[in-house]
Homo-oligomer: 306 residues x 2
Amino acid sequence: MDLTARIRSGQGEFVLFAITPPRQSTSAARLPEIAQATIDRLSGLDIDGLVLYDIDDESSRNPDERPFPFSPTVDPADYRDQHLASWQTPVIVYRAVGKYERDGLETWISGQDPERTLTVLVGAASSGTSAPVSLADAQAMRAELNPDLLLGGVAIPERHSRRDNEHLRLIAKQEAGCRYFVTQVVYDLNAAKNLVSDYRYECEARGLSPVPIVFTFSVCGSMKTLEFLRWLGVDVPRWIENDLRHATNPLAASLEQAATTAVELIDYCRRLGVPFGLNVESVSIRREEIEASVELTAQLLAHLKA
Amino acid sequence: MDLTARIRSGQGEFVLFAITPPRQSTSAARLPEIAQATIDRLSGLDIDGLVLYDIDDESSRNPDERPFPFSPTVDPADYRDQHLASWQTPVIVYRAVGKYERDGLETWISGQDPERTLTVLVGAASSGTSAPVSLADAQAMRAELNPDLLLGGVAIPERHSRRDNEHLRLIAKQEAGCRYFVTQVVYDLNAAKNLVSDYRYECEARGLSPVPIVFTFSVCGSMKTLEFLRWLGVDVPRWIENDLRHATNPLAASLEQAATTAVELIDYCRRLGVPFGLNVESVSIRREEIEASVELTAQLLAHLKA
C-alpha cells in the first residue's frame, strides 16, 4: 500500500526521507546534479516517500544569532517539478504559507495530483509578522480547491512540554483537514511520548480516530549542529550533549541514539494503537552527516519491516 | 563479593530491597510477624542488601496536603536489631539526622559493625528547621567515630533538572566521605541520565573515580500512590500517568515500565562506565503492590546477573 493510501486509511508504519532544497545561490548547472545525487543515495532504500522542506527565515522567531546563517533555498515545488520528476514515490511538499501570494498558492494547490503529492502547510514562524495568506486561509484553500490533496500539520512535542496543549492544537488542525502530522526533530523521548499519549486519550474522549504522527529524526555529528538544533527549538537532553561532546565518534553515537529513540517510539505507539510514521532529515549539509542519515533510514526500515 | 566489599572497591551491579519500618502505633506482638513476613518474601531472592528507611515528617518541605497522612514509624536501627537479626546480608540503615540528639547518634554510629551495617545520612527535609545535629555534624561524627562504616548520600535527579548542580552536590558529599549514593524513586529517565552523565564527566575532569549510584524503582498501582510520589518530589512523566490511568492492569503496566527504565539505566551506566546499583522500594503498603515490588526485584536480579 502506498503512502497516500496508508494515510487515507489512517494507517502508519511508513518511512520518509526529508530534504531541504539547495540554496538559491546554487548555480543552475549544479541543481540537477545535486538532485541526482540524492536520488542515487536513496535508490537503494525502500522508502515510502520524500519530504521537501520549505525554509523560511525564522529569525523573527528567535532573537539569538542563527548558528548557520540563513540562506534562501530553491522553492520545493519548483525543485521537485524541475529536478525530481523521476522520483517514484509520492512527495510531501512543505509550504511555508507566509512566503506566498494568494494567487501563486492557489495555482499550486489546484494543480497537484493528490496521488503523487501531499502537502504540509506551515504557519508564519512568528505571530508578529503579517503575511498575505494565513495558515487558516491556506487550509481553507486546499479544502475548496483540491480536497483530495492530503494535508499535514506540524507537531511540536517541545511546545507540549511548555504549554501542555499541543494535543489540542493537533485536534484543531485535524478538524481543519489535517490527515497526518510531522514533528520537528525528536531528541526528547519523554516529550514525544507525552504528546502521543495526551493526543491518543483526547481522541478517544472525543470519539476521533488518531491520524498518523510522523516522528522526525536526525543525526548530529558536531556541537555546531547541536547548537543549530537548539536554535530551531529542539530540546536536546544534556546527557546526549555530553555523549556527543565526549564521544570518539559523535556521529556514530548520535546515529545509535536516534535509532534507539525511534525504536522506543515505535514500540510505544504500537502499544497505544497510535499510527505513526518515521522521517529522517539531515539537518547539516556535511557529506558524512548525510550518509549517516541514509544509514539511519536503512536501520529504521529494517526494524519497521522486520 | 558482598555489598560492602563491592562498594569499598567502587564496584556496582548489586540489587537492594528497601523497607520502611512499621508504624509506631503497631502493636508489639505484630512487629516480629511483619518482620518475618518480609524475610519470607525476600528469602527466595538473591539480593545483596536490605535498605531500612528512616521516615521524617516532611510536611515542612511541601505545603501541599500529604496524600497519605504522616505517621511516625519505628526507628530503623531498633527494628533491625530487634526483629531483623536473622537477616543475612548487610543492611543500609538510613538516619534522618534531624530527628536525633547528638548522644544517641554518636552511640549508634560507634556501635555498628561496618561489615554488617552501612548508613545513609539524610539532612533535615527543609533548611528552615533547626535540629540538634546537622548533616555535616553527622558526617564528621562517622569519619571520627567509625571511619569504616560505609556512608551513603541521597541523590535527586529532579533537583538536577531544576538547578543543574546535583552532580556538584554529589561530589561535595563524596569529599565528605560518601562512598555511594541512593536516588529517590526514578520515573524520569532523562533526568537520571542527565545526572549520571554530568557526574561522570565532572569526576573525570577532577580525576575522581565515580562511586556507585543506586537507582531506586517502585511500582505504582493506583493514582493515589502516584499522587504520593509527586508529593515526595518525584517527576512522573505525563505519559506514565496516562498509561496508569487507562490501563486495565495499572500495576502490571507500572511494573513493566519500571523494569524498562531500569534496563535502560543499566545499559547507559555500563556504557558510560559509572558503577550502579538497583534498589526496589514499595511506596505503598498494599499487599499487591508489595508483591509486585518483589516481582520487579526478581526481574532486575535476573537481568543483572544474566
